[in-house]
Symmetry: C2
Subunit: 460 residues, 2 copies
Amino acid sequence: MPTRTKIKQLLQEAKVGEEIKVAGWIRSNRAQKTFSFIELNDGSTLGNFQIVAQNELFDSSDLTTGAAIIATGKLVESPGGKQKVEMQAEKIELVGGCPADDYPLQKKRHSFEFLRTIAHLRPRTNTQGAVARVRNALAFASHRFFQERGFLYLQSPIITSSDCEGAGEMFQVSSLDLNKPPKNKDGSIDFSQDFFGKPAFLTVSGQLNGEAYATALSDVYTFGPTFRAENSHTARHLAEFWMIEPEMAFADLADTAKIGEEYLKYLVKYAKENCEEDLNFFDQWVEKGLHKRLDHVLEAPFAYIPYTKAVEILQKSGEKFDFEPKWGIDLQTEHERYLTEKHAKKPVIVTDYPKEIKAFYMRENDDNKTVAALDILVPKVGEIIGGSQREERYDRLEAKFREHELDIEHYKWYLDLRRFGSVPHSGFGAGFERLVQFITGMENIRDVIAFPRVPGQVEF
Amino acid sequence: MPTRTKIKQLLQEAKVGEEIKVAGWIRSNRAQKTFSFIELNDGSTLGNFQIVAQNELFDSSDLTTGAAIIATGKLVESPGGKQKVEMQAEKIELVGGCPADDYPLQKKRHSFEFLRTIAHLRPRTNTQGAVARVRNALAFASHRFFQERGFLYLQSPIITSSDCEGAGEMFQVSSLDLNKPPKNKDGSIDFSQDFFGKPAFLTVSGQLNGEAYATALSDVYTFGPTFRAENSHTARHLAEFWMIEPEMAFADLADTAKIGEEYLKYLVKYAKENCEEDLNFFDQWVEKGLHKRLDHVLEAPFAYIPYTKAVEILQKSGEKFDFEPKWGIDLQTEHERYLTEKHAKKPVIVTDYPKEIKAFYMRENDDNKTVAALDILVPKVGEIIGGSQREERYDRLEAKFREHELDIEHYKWYLDLRRFGSVPHSGFGAGFERLVQFITGMENIRDVIAFPRVPGQVEF
């Protein structure tokens, strides 16, 4: 194909008077008597590029909203446009037409709910284009953050026979013909004839695998999809979502808190520096005050509050909560948001939760009541990062397996990490979609992932 | 935890005379009369760091191979060591012991096959440490390559109801109790009661989703896990592997060939610049001549050979092939390797394959016999990238669905991309593990992914 200049690059680098070629999709076409204003978008940037074209250059029935064109012409100063420059077209080539009557994306505003039903076309909207660009920036920023600090990117397995949380609702994976599966004598399915010779599942976390690599190579992180077969229909849950899970050897809970705070601040800074136009859009149309909220995250050191103290604060707050705060319960979103939005008025790191409500692998504190766990809470979202120091003491971990009634035989390899050169180690998990919500202000998690998977939805 | 310096950083930046703290795992401990030479590794780099410690500083039964220690002392010049500097220890702290009798990683060389059975411990070996570092570098280099060119990273869905290749052997995903599934009247499983309300599968490719985003935002790429429920027990196949799939709008097959060549050269260059020590290791221990092979990839422009011509070359070659080359067959690895290793003596891009052996979505050429597809072949590996220009013409694509007996109803959304502002677009898929093999010389694909999933293997 002939070389074209992307609109983002053109607005940054091209000079008035230059001959250029642009390609993209028409967002609008306003016809005057002898010429038309065509607003073109190619996804490289939020703003449309204005093309001024004599009407004789094209058949006006072709250049409808959604049509793909290639335009050649001269870059000139724009007298009244939003950008400084526009194109004086010399040639307009229709690449792919777009029948106006059938095209679901009319020029009016569509509800996010409607757009989810056309997830294959919604990246053509301003909001979803902006989400895609910010999501891209945050993914790359995540890699950069950990790479700059010497962490190795580990691609932990997706199909697994382990259940990291020991309580997850997992999807099963099979290559058997489920309508005619091989059977055991007792009538149950003979999974020894399944692809992996035993039941297999989709991972809920790469952490255990991350620990194996961290206890060999020091600092690693995963960044991959994870799954929950939970029948949740909320704006906060997906059946398939991406997680970032750093794991550090020779590190304790304080190290994890520190890197978690640095990571969040890095993401905010990176987005502000690289996605200014998109963030302005979100600030204007999605969450008024977004910039202020993000700036606020950068400004102050995060607050540290032990869980026990947090419960006291909640009890004394005088707030009406749906769930009464008391020692031993897991904090609800309403509690988390109170702590970060009203109490501390900035991000809060809650540490040392009751051991009963936390996973088997977390390191028990000397009080025998709490574990070295933390959650990082941010305004608007609530919990955005959950981490812990892992139990590195062989005997303690073995005891935990018994307490949690987990099959030790199954976790033998995981115990090996404590048998051979065990080290204190620590890490966290961050749901990537929550991070995108945090930075964009988007309310529904289904609107920050390209093709959301939720109960009853696996289209596209 | 007290701050320690990683060995990589220490070798690059620390100065003789400085007081330092290192932490890691003992690779060997040679005791002399009054002092010992401890070789320490922390995964940040291949080479061990030498610590010279008076025997009175530790209990010698503690400091066995595999034990984790923290050592504090002074950096001094190394009289005879492999590195320029070593540590004169002042304090040695045992963090986690390693019972010599049980530890499966003895100092001798272990077979890669044996190491696969202890995949949770094998990152502690030189080879797997080097693989992990090179794999990490190549993953980051892939992101950098596409980011520098303005591609957006798209995380395409893992669970899907589409079958991209139209012929894949797919894993099914379910949250039903498979031993007691709900049934229809005819006795078949009622998948309307399954999590997604219909049968769902693990993706074989993110391409179709990539096309939806490329035809909205111009250039995108995916980088995520893909799956094949193929009962292959070869050194070239995994049931779960990672793919990079760029997709470009306003682009044809030549654009894809160009970016494919640039990408491979970028990876080689990046690895040479960032993983020199590890590549030296592979050159010495895994594939003699690795550096030469890689340099060779950088030197010359790739050769272009249309499929029809390639078949002629093979037929006239005088080589004995297991599969006789003739027009219409898919090229076998032996053919691919002949073309790249013996004929062109450099990477080869074979283009325009017979339409009968290629997927439904590839664009038909004007000869009505071939499609605009390409494979990039490299010495030692054979095919490493497969790409095509996609059929952007609505009628042609619809006809293809009929020819391939695919349910059009199911692909309606994909056809929409051709109904509304259709554009020529093109892209490729690269198996990430094959790329790691290509750069490291590792023979078996199971040795370039942390926890390989193959028939009968889903441990860890």
